[in-house]
Each structure stands twice: as C-alpha cells, then as structure tokens.
C-alpha cells in the first residue's frame, strides 16, 4: 500500500506538472519574448552610455519604477527592481522566473531611441514553471527531512536516558502493572509485564496531553521494545501496527500547541468537538487494526519474507 501511495504521489506530481507546463506553452501566459514599451528617465545630465540607476515608466501603466542601467556594446540591459505596483504580468514573471531572486528582473533593451528615451525591452522568458517547482520542492524537502531528523537528536537522547533510569530503577515495572489490563487488550502478543506496555502507556499519555515533544521519542522507544518481540526484522508486527494506528489517531485531551497558536482562545470552544472526534477516530482505528489482525497472523520466523527483501540493514 505504502509503495503505491508513494509512487502515486510522485507520478501524479509529474503528470500534473507536465500538463500545466504544456498548457502554459500553448497559452503563453507570460507572453514570452514580447517587447514592452517603456520610457527611461535618466538622472539629470545622465549619459546613456554609462552605468547608472534610472527610473522608467511603463507604457499604459501608472507610476515610475527603479532599475539599474547597464550599457553593453550590443544591447543595454536593465536590472529592474520589482515593485508591487507593477503590472500583474511583470509580477508573475518575477515570481516564476528561473532565477534565485524574485526581487529583480533582468530585461534586455532591444531598441532604444536616444532622443525620446523611448525603449523596447524584453523580460526574462518563463518556461516549465511547474516542473522546476516540483524539482525544487523535492530537493528542499529532502534537506528539510534531515533538519527534522537531526532536530530530534536532543529530545530523543533526553527521553531515552530517562527511560533507561525508569527501567533500571523498577519504576517502569510499577507502571506496566498499572496499565496491564488495557494494554493486554490492545497488544495481546506482548507478554505480561513486558516493558513495552509501560512505554506505550507513556506515549499515549503524552499524546493525550498534547505533548508532542515527548510523544515522539516515547513512541519510538515503544517501537523498539516491540521490535525486540518481533520475529521479523523488517516487517512490522501486528503490535507495531496497532501502536502506529493509535498514534496516528492520537486521542487528545488537549489540543496541540500549533492549533492554540493559530486560533488563540477560540480553541476552548473547539475542545469538545476535538475530544469527540479524536475519540471516535481512535475507536475506528483500533477496530480496523483488530480486524486486519485477524487476517494477518503474526510472522513465525524470518522465512516468511521473500528472499530479495531479507537483507539486514
């Protein structure tokens, strides 16, 4: 399933990007190569053969805008500072051009009349916006994934350290005994008194209280405990699937901090609806996992895994 969803996301992205870009090629929304008439306003005694900052007026549009004038042997160039009062088309080009900055437009002056200071300029051509956008997104997100993972190091270490103390001191055992009945229902294959029960209950508690920072490391620790009981090394066990389902449905007594930040005090009103919904989705998730469990008997040995996927990490 994950294979199909994953490949599906990538393929759908490509199809939509290509479709959009072909539509753009046909409809030419950026009017690539079009000559725009402007009037260049040089500073007093300004010599068009020298580099200088100028202003200019776009024909048929209000206001004057800033640019740097760059005379070259063949055609001069203008580095235009993008201004939000510019025509819509110019802003679109600035936003979607293949350039590291959206603040500047590099225009080529194809005709310039020294007497009247009238000029014809060509703006950068814009092609394949969506294809470039999805490629950029792929690279950016890959980088972001690493930032996200590395950001976990500290909190992970903190909670793993604390959990180790809890284990060694027997505190975990007390907790395990307390939550046993409920955990035996959700995770029947985990032996009585196993540390996994304790960590899972902590993970759930953290989720309920909206403590995302604690929930993730505790969930990972719980997964590790369940992995010790998993006969197969790279195939999830039923218990692990249940833990994951419980975490994605995540019953929440307190709304997550992001939501509070977004809607402020209005969140109090939503507490009841969130509580009801999260409870129902948790129930549905657990039921679904229980049903799936019946059709997926626990792996006995590693042999159940096809040869080509049997490699160890």
């Amino acid at each position: 399933m994950l294979n199909y969803i994953w490949a599906g996301l990538i393929i759908i992205s490509l199809i939509f990007a290509v479709t959009q870009d072909i539509t753009d090629l046909v409809q030419d929304p950026y009017q690539n190569g079009k000559e725009h008439s402007i009037e260049v306003i040089f500073p007093e005694n300004g010599d068009p053969d020298k580099r200088q900052n100028v202003r200019f007026r776009i024909k048929g549009h209000e206001g004057t805008f800033e640019a740097a004038w760059r005379p070259y042997e063949d055609n001069p160039e203008m580095i235009i500072s993008v201004d939000e009062d510019m025509p819509e088309l110019w802003l679109d080009i600035a936003r979607d051009q293949d350039s590291p900055t959206e603040e500047e437009l590099l225009a080529e002056v194809v005709a310039f009349d020294r007497a009247t200071r009238q000029a014809e300029i060509v703006l950068p051509e814009v092609y394949y916006v969506k294809l470039n956008a999805i490629a950029t997104a792929a690279f950016n997100m890959a980088e972001f994934a690493v930032t996200l993972a590395i950001g976990l190091v500290g909190i992970m270490a903190l909670w793993l350290g604390l959990m180790k103390i809890a284990e060694k001191s027997g505190l975990m055992y007390l907790l395990v005994k307390a939550v046993q009945p409920f955990m035996r229902f959700l995770f029947p294959n985990v032996p009585r008194g196993h540390a996994a029960h304790g960590v899972i209950s902590l993970n759930m508690a953290a989720n309920m209280l909206g403590l995302g920072n604690a929930a993730t490391p505790l969930g990972i620790k719980a997964m590790e405990e369940l992995q010790k009981l998993n006969p197969s090394k790279n195939r999830a066990s039923n218990a692990q699937c249940m833990l994951l389902t419980v975490n994605t449905a995540s019953i929440q007594l307190l709304p997550p901090a992001t939501l509070v930040a977004l809607i402020g005090t209005g969140v109090n009103e939503l507490m009841i609806s969130i509580l009801i919904v999260t409870f129902i989705s948790l129930l549905v998730g657990i039921t679904a996992a229980k049903i799936y469990e019946r059709f997926h008997p626990e792996d006995e040995h590693d042999e159940n895994i096809p040869e080509d996927q049997k490699r160890e990490d």
């Binding site: 969506k130 270490a157 103390i165 027997g170 699937c241 994605t248 919904v277």
Partner: protein
C-alpha cells in the same frame, strides 16, 4: 487541564531520576548509557523521512490539489461535505506544516468563526500526520514493510474527517 499539562513534564523529568536515586541506581551513568542511542535513532530515520517528505513536497507543488478539489466538488457537495475542506482533508495525513498552512489560509479567508474553519480546526486537532508518523516510527527501527498500518492509519483519519464535519455541525451549526 492546561495547568496539569505544564506541570506534568517537569514533574516526570524530576521524578524519574529521583526514584532511581532512592533505588540506588547510578542515575547519571544509566542516563548517559540510554541517551547515547538518541543520535543513531535520529540518523536512522533520515532515509525514511526523505522518502516520504520529498514525494509529498512534489505533490504539494504540482498543482494536483486544485484539480482534485474541482473534480471532487460535485460529489462532495451532494454528500453535504463542504468543498473548502478538501485541501485540509487531503493534506492532514500527508504533511503537518502543509496543513498548518491550509488552516492559516482558511482563517484568513473565512474568518475564525466560520463553520468550515471550525471543522478544519477540529480535523487538524484530532488527527495526526499519518505518513510522518509512519516514516519516523518505523524508520527508527528500520522497518520497511509496514503491513496494513497505512490502511488503518488512513481509516482512522477518514473517520476523523467525516466526524469533524458532523460533530461541528451538530455543536455549532
């Protein structure tokens, strides 16, 4: 409730070493021993997270979302599901930051008190970013075959999405 939540974290962090100390555990040594795994786990997650996030990033940028909204509009309208919620419903299981963006945009467009915003906020508050959870939790223990967990996660999400609309309509509608 919020007060309890603010107390509970520091309390746990203090209580665990304290209990260890009483039980004569070498708390510092044991802590460091446990903590050193943190780095390895985080690094182990990276390939899984990269795989999931880059695919979702591409999907987000491709403009496919707008198409789905248009395609689904008549069906959903018939079922009484507000079309404005489609981006939230699709993005919520995929990306946490993406769905925050969707919600912020909805608040800006419709105002805090709009019914659809309440529905979207309930959806956001009551479900998790399923694919992120899968990448992180299973990545940490190097599990690649996730069995039916995607299905059950998404079923739970779907239940959350549908009940959000119903519950908010009953409570505030």
């Amino acid at each position: 409730m919020r007060t309890i939540a603010s107390f509970i974290l520091p309390l746990i962090i203090v209580l665990i070493p304290l209990y260890g100390l009483i039980k004569k555990v070498h708390v510092y040594e044991v802590f460091v021993d446990g903590a050193k795994e943190g780095f390895h786990i985080a690094v182990r997650i990276i390939p899984y997270l990269v795989a999931i996030l880059f695919a979702i990033g591409m999907f987000r940028e491709s403009g496919a979302m707008e198409f789905f909204m248009m395609a689904l509009a008549p069906v959903l309208g018939f079922l009484g599901f507000p079309v404005e919620l489609v981006p939230m419903a699709i993005f919520r299981p995929l990306t946490g930051s993406g769905s925050v963006g969707v919600l912020a945009e909805m608040i800006a467009t419709y105002g805090e008190d709009a019914l659809v915003v309440k529905m979207a906020a309930t959806m956001f508050g009551s479900t998790e970013t399923t694919f992120y959870v899968i990448a992180v939790y299973f990545g940490a223990i190097s599990i690649r075959q996730v069995k039916y967990s995607v299905q059950t996660g998404l079923i739970a999400d779907l239940a959350g999405i549908i009940t959000s609309v119903i519950v908010v309509r009953i409570l505030f509608g």
